[in-house]
């Protein structure tokens, strides 16, 4: 205590006595006051210095998304590593108008190099930042630099390039200017691609894609069709090897493409496919009833169901065997099959094939098919020949692959690392699937699919020609003609679909615009090209699947051009 007291006393003497303390305090407070003023004066001076005396040496633009852009979007390659989409650095030219002295001169100089109009209006502006041109070529960049004009500067930007251009545009898709996917694989795998890193491998083979585009485009021109679409699918794995929608577009200028070109028909368009569906209804009939090829159907009279009447396009007007119904594509025969199957079984089978739902596929915007609601008995009859139900071409390919894959349904996939259910479900017995392959082959050897045949490769397939729905019913002049091919039928590897939208008959086709005349040749050409690029050897020892089937066909009634119809 005494120690503390002594300490205290000593310290207390350091401080002046009371009266004095206030006096000293006041004086010193004046000093503190002055210091405070000085501090604020400093702040004021510095404020003036920053706001008034200095100008930012670089224009302010919000670079909020700079970090997003700087991350390089991953490439997209096809199944063999061919580059489909990549990101490159380009330089973009901008100007700071306040630093440009002779604006007219500069504008003239730049116009000569850059092929940009009316530059003077851009340069002769208030403000400190104006884009002159974005994405310059290296030589333009060099020339502008060589001018040495102050006030012009470059900013490095990244831009998406598609070396295959239109060829893969609908599959690969395109991105926005800020490199976000807007369509196709760019959209489906947007997050994966935005993270950068390893290239995204697709199942597509650009060579097959090219073969399909080439043949479809040729036939589209030959028959003056509005549009065309198609696809090639690996039957065993479900990999989409090619997918085409014509007209297509340049992915670098997707914003300028017209609506029709941007429309993805193979994945996002739904169509009433017509007789192609007889493949599925016939399979269902054989599966459910167990009937053999000798079963006959009376196609002499149009079939009446309620207020509907079902006709054959080119009526045989006789009693047809089951294979005849298939190769003559008799609507009456198929409708009779549908009646025998019953509505419940038909819906179940179509559900199993995937026709009733949105597809489980790694492609954006695949819609739910248009199906009859409520499903009446007449819908069963029309659905058996592909009317009153509209699906996407991808749906058809998947269902066809199911039949050809011995009745086991594969899941379609566009990218190698697509995430989907690995369990493949059996939809059809193997024996029925075999009979369907026989019928598909028969249709090419003796029916409407002759033009799709490629010697040595055992092509099988089914034509389809549907009338498009217009105002007040179906319009017999506006057709959707298709061909669904499978090869080789003895050991199926690929399913190929070609569809032409509103083809017009020409002289060569004797005025016909049906699937057998328009789409079947496409499939034939594609298969012929594919076998060559993929190195598939012809198999002369392939078993003849159609042996013995001729007894079910009426001999004297050979198929004439007019009857390779629907």
């Amino acid at each position: 205590m005494s120690l503390l007291n002594r300490w205290n006393k000593n310290i207390a003497t350091l401080i002046s006595t009371r009266g004095e303390a206030l006096y000293v305090g006041r004086t010193r407070l004046r000093i503190v006051q002055s210091i405070c003023l000085l501090l604020f004066a400093l702040v004021l001076i510095r404020l003036g210095d920053l706001t008034l005396m200095q100008t930012p040496n670089e224009p302010n633009i919000d670079r909020k998304h700079a970090s997003v852009q700087s991350m390089e979007r991953a490439d997209i390659v096809d199944r063999n590593g061919v580059l489909l989409a990549t990101t490159l650095q380009v330089s973009s030219l901008y100007a700071d108008p306040t630093l440009i002295e002779n604006k007219a001169f500069v504008a003239n100089q730049l116009e000569a190099i850059l092929d940009v109009d009316n530059l003077i209006s851009k340069i002769d502006r208030k403000g400190r930042f104006v884009w002159i041109k974005r994405g310059l070529t290296p030589s333009e960049h060099f020339k502008v630099n060589a001018l040495g004009i102050p006030g012009l500067a470059f900013r490095t930007e990244t831009r998406r390039f598609y070396p295959q251009g239109n060829l893969s545009s609908h599959v690969v898709g395109y991105t926005s200017v800020d490199s976000r996917g807007l369509a196709g694989m760019e959209l489906e795998y947007d997050d994966r691609l935005a993270q950068g890193g390893e290239a995204l491998s697709l199942n597509m083979d650009v060579r097959v894609q090219h073969a399909l585009v080439k043949s479809l485009r040729l036939q589209m021109d030959n028959f003056n069709a509005l549009a065309a679409m198609g696809g090639v699918v690996d039957i065993q794995t479900g990999e989409v090897v090619a997918a085409v929608s014509l007209p297509d577009f340049d992915p670098h200028h997707a914003g300028k493409a017209d609506k029709s070109a941007l429309r993805n028909r193979f994945a996002q368009g739904v169509y009433e496919m017509g007789s192609t569906f007889k493949l599925f209804s016939t399979a269902n009939y054989i599966e459910k009833t167990g009937k053999s090829f000798s079963k006959t159907f009376d196609a002499r009279e149009p079939l009446k169901e309620g207020r509907f009447t079902i006709n054959d396009y080119h009526a045989e007007k006789r009693i047809l065997t089951l294979p005849e119904v298939f190769i003559h594509s008799s609507n009456i025969g198929s409708a009779l099959m549908g009646r025998a199957i019953g509505s419940e079984n038909m819906q179940k089978f179509y559900t199993d094939l995937g026709f009733m739902d949105k597809m489980d596929v790694d492609f954006p915007g695949n819609p739910k098919p248009l199906t009859p609601s409520p499903w009446r008995d007449v819908n069963t009859l029309t659905a058996s020949y592909g009317h009153g139900i509209a699906v996407t071409p991808l749906h058809v390919l998947q269902a066809a692959a199911t039949i050809a894959n011995n009745g086991v349904r594969p899941t379609l996939s566009f990218a190698k690392d697509a995430q989907h259910d690995p369990i493949q479900s059996r939809v059809l017995s193997a024996s029925t699937a075999y009979k369907m392959r026989q019928l598909l082959r028969l249709n090419v050897t003796d029916g409407s699919g002759k033009q799709a045949d490629v010697p040595g490769y055992m092509v099988g397939g089914k034509t389809g020609t549907s009338e498009k729905a217009g105002k007040g019913g179906y319009d017999k002049d506006r057709l959707l003609s298709s061909f669904l091919g499978v090869f080789p039928v003895d050991n199926p590897r690929y399913a190929v679909l070609a569809v032409l939208d509103e083809p017009k008959g020409n002289k060569k086709s004797h005025g016909y615009a049906t699937g057998g005349w328009t789409a079947a040749p496409v499939v034939g050409d594609v298969i012929s090209d594919m076998t060559r690029v993929l190195g598939m050897m012809p198999n002369p020892k392939a078993p003849n699947l159609t042996a013995g089937l001729s007894r079910y066909l009426k001999k004297e009634n050979t198929i004439t051009p007019a009857s390779y119809q629907r």
Binding site: L4, N5, W7, N8, K9, I11, A12, L14, I15, S16, R18, E20, A21, L22, V24, G25, R26, R28, L29, R30, V32, Q33, C36, L37, L39, F40, A41, L42, V43, L44, R46, L47, G48, L50, T51, L52, Q54, T55, P56, N60, D62, R63, K64
Partner: protein, 359 residues
């Protein structure tokens, strides 16, 4: 009062960008929170300004006790934000107890120092020193060197005012400088801040570069309230860098006027305290004012790259509930202390102050 309103406007324009960046918060999240705290802060000013001087000491002693406990609690249970544990959660609000420690400490130490004058046997200086060491220690533990620095400066000023002979003052300043050097060499983040100030190339100076750019963008008349663009890229624009937003949006003219107004307000307040008849009133009042001055200076100096960057709120303007409330309390204390300094104008001070604040 005027400052409060200006503060609301500035938080309103500055905070959406912060909230947007944070992501899931509503754009005006910070604005609403700020408005929520304005009421209590104004209430604190009014209520405390009516306190009797002898009650002020008791209030501050109580506040000091609570704040110290709060600081200790925050050390153990606090939320860690940006490397320091300064906040505790109470009734859904996060509170920074150390903000309240400051004004309480200043008043208490002023009282202790003043008591020694009245009664020489009272160990005021020793107790004040003890109080200082305790508070500074608590702040260093957090760690909150900015506030510790502030407290040291203000305490030093009080010692200076109390009439300590100049040679001792020089020694104290020397000790202070040694402390700063020690901080520089022993604490990596202090070192990097100072290094980056002296040589901007040596490290990341994004925040301060952007802040400067914002001022440049402001120019003479500014971009207009809410029109700033560079401010969107400045981190902590709503609190530690709110003066940047002012600079960009109000320009040199108005933000300069603001600085002048602030300076004249504080100058007038200090002038009032030179007329104080009691050492306690003088020390406490000028200490509180000086604290606000230093705090404002550090804030504005940081944003203007006048001094090394140190995050500190701008009194009454910046977002931050604890800070706002503590500043409200400080102003209340200042008003209470300055009451009755001018006998011929009994309530003149109060009126005078309100007039001054309406800049």
């Amino acid at each position: 009062m005027g400052l409060c309103i200006l503060g609301v406007v500035m938080v309103a324009t500055a905070s959406p960008s912060v909230a947007d960046r944070t992501g899931d918060l509503h754009s005006y999240h910070f604005l609403f929170r700020h408005l929520l705290f304005i009421g209590p802060a104004v209430g604190a000013i009014v209520v405390i300004s009516f306190f009797q001087i002898k009650w002020l000491v008791k209030l501050c002693a109580f506040m000091f006790l609570c704040a110290s406990i709060g600081v200790v609690v925050s050390l153990f249970f606090g939320m860690e934000i940006k490397g320091a544990t300064r906040w505790i959660r109470l009734f859904g609000f996060s509170i920074q107890p150390s903000e309240f420690l400051k004004p309480a400490f200043i008043v208490l130490s002023a009282w202790l120092l003043g008591q020694q004058k009245i009664n020489e046997n009272f160990p005021g200086i020793i107790l004040a020193l003890g109080l200082f060491v305790t508070s500074a220690g608590l702040l260093i533990l957090q760690p909150d060197f900015g506030m510790c620095f502030l407290l040291t400066i203000v305490f030093g000023m009080q010692i200076f005012l109390v009439g300590c002979p100049l040679r001792y003052i020089v020694i104290l300043v020397g000790v202070f400088l040694v402390g700063i050097l020690l901080a520089y060499f022993s604490l990596s983040h202090v070192q990097s801040r100072v290094d980056r100030f002296i040589n901007p190339e040596s490290g990341d100076s994004y925040q301060i570069d952007k802040s400067k750019e914002a001022f440049m963008n402001g120019g003479f008349i500014g971009a207009g309230p809410g029109q700033g663009t560079v401010k969107n890229q400045v981190p902590d624009i709503h609190s530690d860098f709110i003066f940047t937003a002012m600079g960009e949006e109000l320009g040199f003219l108005l933000s300069g006027l603001f600085v002048c107004g602030l300076a004249s307000l504080f100058y007038r307040l200090l002038s009032h305290f030179t007329r104080a008849e009691s050492l306690f009133v003088m020390l406490a009042g000028s200490g509180l004012v000086f604290m606000l001055v230093v705090q404002s200076f550090i804030h504005m100096g940081s944003t203007l790259q006048l001094i090394p960057a140190k995050g500190m709120t701008l009194p009454l303007i910046s977002y931050g509930g604890s800070s706002l409330l503590a500043v409200g309390i400080s102003f209340g204390l200042i008003l209470a202390l300055s009451r009755g300094l001018n006998e011929d104008r009994p309530r003149g001070t109060w009126r005078h102050l309100t007039k001054k604040e309406n800049i």
